[in-house]
């Protein structure tokens, strides 16, 4: 690979690295890291950011006002589709209060997968709101845990009050084939959404 020529070639944008960023959101413990691991060509990498924040009502230690240091972890995986076309999958931090990290992740994201557990469907409401507000195309993937009661896709659509055109699919976050299908469904949805210029909410 002739990387030595990078500087001289900087005018040829076509040769630039095309990075597709896909976000994977959902409640804590819903299987985000598992899904990243199932499709990533590298073992899911993890990067962390220490935070110092004044503890408000969160982590409430009954009236103790103090600074706390927390670490926000973010998992990510990589899929090289072509030498110059790479897909990055970012598992977003699960706790709501770390959402400011998402803003950076969401910047330039192609789309998102909201991973949901039908036993705790409400956990994914905030993620849905977030992507709707930012006009980031997303799909819902229901991670079917062993022994979990299975609801029909239509039940879930009603429960989440989702547009009839928004894809909702069942998946098994541990399975590579299933995780691939989730990503394919998302890209097809992005194609659909960008094809229909009428206001999508």
């Amino acid at each position: 690979m002739a990387y030595g020529g990078y500087e001289a070639n900087s005018g040829t944008a076509a040769r630039r690295h095309r990075a597709i960023k896909i976000l994977l959101a959902g409640g804590f413990g819903v299987g985000k890291t598992t899904l990243v691991g199932a499709v990533s060509e590298i073992r899911p990498l993890r990067t962390e950011e220490p935070l110092t924040e004044s503890s408000k009502d969160i982590d409430s230690t009954a009236g103790v006002e103090r600074k706390t240091t927390t670490t926000v972890a973010m998992d990510f995986g990589r899929i090289t589709l072509r030498e110059d076309l790479v897909l990055y999958l970012f598992g977003t931090p699960g706790q709501e209060r770390f959402w400011f990290m998402w803003d950076e992740l969401a910047l330039g994201a192609l789309g998102a997968v909201v991973l949901a557990d039908t036993r705790r469907l409400a956990d994914c409401f905030p993620a849905i709101d977030y992507f709707e507000r930012r006009d980031i195309p997303f799909i819902i993937a229901l991670n079917v845990f062993d022994g979990a009661r299975r609801y029909s896709v239509e039940d879930v659509r009603v429960a989440l009050d989702l547009d009839p055109n928004l894809p909702i699919i069942m998946c098994d976050a541990r399975s590579r084939e299933s995780a691939k299908e989730v990503l394919i469904t998302l890209i097809e949805h992005v194609l659909y959404v960008t094809d229909t210029p009428v206001a999508h909410k």
């Binding site: 690295h17 990075a19 990067t47 990510f76 076309l85 330039g108 994201a109 890209i187």
Partner: protein, 125 residues
């Protein structure tokens, strides 16, 4: 239960050097921000004049010998993203690395041809 004579400096205890000590207290870097998936490429194989650079700068340079993304470097050197960005900005200022922004790939900017390419690539995995 941890006893007094063992394990109080394990990974759980956190780094021995506070992460931002490596950046001499700086939490922001000069110059424009770079994307998580911007590509970092070292322009040199070695640092001729180490000056004020620390071992972490060298580790980053090492990883950037082949084009690598910011986020992968952060994960590999096991340092917070914010710290790695500052180290990278230092190296860029010295002309030791090049940081190249990725082609924007937002849903409403990306061309259909690329999306089809992605679909094709995923199906072929």
């Amino acid at each position: 239960m941890p006893s007094n004579d063992e394990g109080w400096l394990d990974a759980e205890a956190g780094p021995v050097v506070r992460p931002y000590a490596l950046t001499r207290g700086r939490t922001r870097h000069s110059g424009e921000a770079f994307d998580l998936v911007a590509t970092v490429t070292a322009t040199q194989t070695r640092i001729a004049d180490p000056g004020g650079l620390g071992p972490e700068h060298f580790s980053v340079m090492q990883l950037a010998q082949v084009p690598t993304t910011v986020v992968e470097i952060a994960s590999d050197v096991d340092l917070p993203l914010g710290v790695v960005r500052i180290l990278l900005a230092d190296l860029r200022e010295l002309g030791l690395v090049m940081i190249q922004a990725p082609v924007p790939m937002k849903a409403h900017q990306v061309d259909r041809e690329t999306l089809r390419e992605v679909l094709h690539g995923l199906r072929g995995l």
